[in-house]
């Protein structure tokens, strides 16, 4: 089994060899490590992408907007991902961000996961019919479990979710009430010896 350190190093060096700058190659190294930690096919997708990169025409998406539609070519997942990560603070207030035609979108995914951690919000990423819920870069919930290469996502959507409870107020109250059964009823003497007792706050 390859260690995560080996995965990081080899991904970084191969990305550099494929023409990315060292700084971007460092990002790819960290990302592929992340994918493999989450049991997603990082090495598989990176290897296929870097090997086919010279044969497919890619467009670099530098400035991310609500609608990102490539005119002629597929978007490079690495450049689109780096810029999504870098620009996340200005993108987080958009309701939905859409992309058309991202090549090898599994390589775009870890940038979104890291963005979720940076802004402290969950992000729902849809790659065509595949859904990935990014939870602050701690874990990813998904309906995609295959260890396969995804060469393109024609329709990509990103929703930055509001920080909301996943339960009703009533469910919370019920649970809170139960938790109160660990408390002790205070006697008068205990009340008189609590913090601030016996003093007037107006002196």
């Amino acid at each position: 089994m390859k260690s995560l350190s080996e995965i990081d190093t080899v991904s970084k060096r191969s990305s550099r060899a494929a023409g990315y700058s060292w700084g971007i190659a460092e990002e790819v190294g960290k990302n592929i490590k992340l994918l493999e930690i989450f049991s997603l096919p990082g090495i598989k997708n990176l290897n296929d992408f870097l090997n086919s990169k010279k044969n497919i025409k890619l467009e670099n998406l530098n400035l991310i907007t609500e609608e990102n539609s490539s005119n002629n070519f597929q978007y490079c997942p690495v450049i689109a991902g780096v810029n999504f990560l870098d620009q996340i603070k200005t993108l987080e207030n958009l309701n939905e961000i859409k992309f058309k035609n991202i090549a090898y979108p599994m390589l775009f995914l870890p940038f979104v996961s890291r963005a979720s951690e940076i802004i402290g919000k969950r992000i729902l990423l849809k790659l065509d019919e595949k859904e990935f819920l990014m939870n602050f870069n701690n874990c990813i919930h998904s309906n995609f479990f295959k260890k396969e290469i995804i060469k393109i996502a024609e329709s990509v959507s990103i929703k930055i979710l509001k920080n909301e409870d996943s339960f009703t107020e009533n469910e919370w109250k019920e649970l809170y009430k139960l938790s109160e059964e660990t408390f002790v009823e205070e006697s008068e003497s205990l009340k008189n010896s609590g913090a601030g007792a016996g003093l007037t706050d107006n002196d």
Binding site: L4, W22, V82, N83, D86, Q87, T90, I118
Partner: protein, 550 residues
């Protein structure tokens, strides 16, 4: 009195870093302190009469066991090489997490001797190999088998029976990643398991030499005197592999230097030194002179440095004995100021290390802060502006900005990874091919380029937008934001200039390991000795923490 931390522009110069010496902070010393209460055992020793075979040594405490598995192999004389491109060694080692089963040992027997070409697993923590100092080993075997102890003078000249040529950890070749073990309290502090491996290898060398001597002459042979064992360490040949490490791990480098600088600051802030403290400082300093007078090297560069250090130290000791009054307030601050005014930086840093000796209470808490969670600082704060980044560079790289990289001598070399064993190398970019594959270790040059590009950008532009047009500078943008928080994370020197002495970078790292007697064999590799004078495993429970000077 509040003494400021020393200026990174002074401390982080390569000549200063290359003048560092071992101290209480050094990893091999903190390893011994941490593991002194652990139970040491030789679990397996299946060597043939010539000393070839398998051995296992372990440290155990409660449920935790670390086992060194040693494979000693027969090696043709013409196959023995300390170069990293060697493929066979006298012995190969791995530190196993737990107690290895027979199946583990069989598996490792096929992999560990292959080193870089073998595959390890998450059960193995570190990996190493070593070659005999044939001259010394054979002399010791011959002497012991004849019933006499070896020539101490010869042993003192070399200092070890074996020297390692690499010690790997942290996920290399399939070894356990650091995340699997980083929360274990006993290994807070960098390189602790690497230190354990080297320490147990040292014991293996003594047991092996005794075993071979005994087999050669069972009637007459004697064991190597434990006092002689103690005086021997483990040698190490170190090449440029270590140099990129300190550039590639900026927060880790910061934490090492920061611990040293905070120690010095706190010691300088001591208003009144107890007599026991000042005496211990003087005692260690005086005894340590023997480590300098017994420091053998053929390197002109090092001989010059040793001579100058010895001259300075003798003069400093005279000053201490005859002129300096430890009863005055802030004595260590006064001493430090005197050092900076009167002595070379090699001497200054030597005495700084010595000043830590009496102050366990200051140094010990800092040791636990010397590791780093590097991934935490990986993301670039891209919401910040060009003006902010420019200001950081002006403040943190002021010396670097003065370098003119258009001059050939300032841009002479490039760092690359050799195809042979993937080792880092340094070469002249105007004489050698391959500078197009340069590693991102020319930090000074790239920082200067970043500054130039920032200077022609709008001040209120975000870094996110700046980076979308300057992807080639992303690696140094990351570094600049790291140095903002970690003042000692960056070498404040040109790592590709004509004047670079790469072994300064090695010296820095090796001094934190706790190495002694740096012996440069060129400007690109050196030999050192580790654990020379250290207590043997059976002596650990009650050892003198200042053993380095005894």
């Amino acid at each position: 009195m509040d003494i400021p931390l020393r200026d990174p522009n002074i401390v982080m110069k390569l000549s200063r870093l290359g003048s560092f010496h071992q101290s209480r902070l050094s990893f091999l010393r903190s390893f011994l302190k941490e593991f002194k209460d652990w139970d040491y055992k030789r679990d397996l020793f299946e060597l043939n009469q010539n000393g070839f075979g398998t051995a296992v040594f372990s440290f155990k405490k409660k449920d935790r066991v670390y086992s060194l598995i040693c494979f000693a192999n027969e090696l043709d004389e013409n196959e023995r090489s300390d170069r990293v491109i060697a493929t066979k060694w006298d012995a190969a080692f791995t530190l196993f997490d737990g107690v290895p089963t027979k199946i583990d040992i069989e598996r490792l027997k096929n992999e560990v001797p292959k080193q870089e070409f073998g595959r390890l697993s998450y059960k193995e923590l570190t990996l190493s190999r070593a070659n005999k100092s044939v001259r010394v080993f054979n002399h010791v075997v011959k002497s012991l088998s004849n019933g006499v102890q070896p020539d101490k003078e010869l042993l003192a000249k070399v200092g070890y029976l074996y020297r390692t040529t690499a010690v790997y950890g942290s996920g290399k070749f399939g070894l356990a990643d650091r995340f699997r073990i980083k929360d274990r309290e006993e290994i807070y502090g960098p390189f602790r398991l690497e230190m354990m491996l080297v320490y147990l290898v040292r014991q293996f060398t003594f047991d092996q030499v005794n075993h071979v001597a005994k087999n050669r002459n069972p009637q007459k042979a004697v064991n190597l005197d434990p006092e002689i064992c103690k005086s021997l360490g483990i040698g190490n040949s170190t090449g440029l592999g270590m140099a990129p490490f300190i550039v590639n791990h900026p927060t880790l480098l910061n934490n090492w230097i920061y611990a040293r600088e905070v120690s010095l600051k706190k010691i300088r802030e001591i208003k009144n030194a107890a007599i026991t403290e000042s005496n211990l400082f003087k005692d260690c300093l005086k005894k340590s002179i023997k480590n300098i007078t017994s420091w053998n090297t053929e390197s002109e560069y090092q001989i010059k440095k040793i001579k100058s250090l010895l001259k300075d130290l003798n003069q400093f000791i005279l000053f201490l004995d005859n002129e300096f009054d430890f009863n005055q307030e802030y004595p260590f601050n006064k001493l430090y100021q005197h050092l900076e005014e009167n002595y070379q930086e090699e001497c200054v840093e030597y005495v700084v290390s010595m000043m830590m000796e009496p102050y366990e209470s200051i140094v010990a808490p800092l040791i636990k802060e010397m590791s780093s969670e590097e991934d935490k600082y990986f993301n670039i704060p891209t919401e910040r502006t060009v003006l902010e980044l420019k200001t950081i560079i002006e403040n943190k790289y002021s010396e670097i900005l003065k370098i003119n990289f258009k001059k050939k001598e300032n841009n002479l070399n490039f760092w690359f990874i050799s195809k042979n064993k993937e080792e880092p190398r340094l070469a002249n970019r105007f004489d050698e091919n391959g500078s197009n594959l340069e590693q991102p270790l020319a930090v000074a040059r790239d920082i200067k380029k970043l500054y130039e590009n920032l200077s022609v950008s709008k001040n209120n532009l975000t870094i996110a937008i700046f980076l979308s047009n300057n992807a080639d500078l992303r690696h140094v943008v990351r570094r600049a934001f790291i140095v903002e928080k970690f003042p000692y994370s960056e070498i404040q020197d040109n790592t590709i200039g004509q004047e670079i002495v790469p072994i300064d970078m090695l010296r820095l790292k090796l001094s934190f390991f706790g190495a002694l007697k740096f012996d440069p064999r060129s400007d690109k590799w050196l030999r050192i000795c580790m654990f020379q004078g250290a207590p043997l495993p059976e002596q650990l429970k009650n050892y003198d923490e200042h053993w380095v000077y005894n």
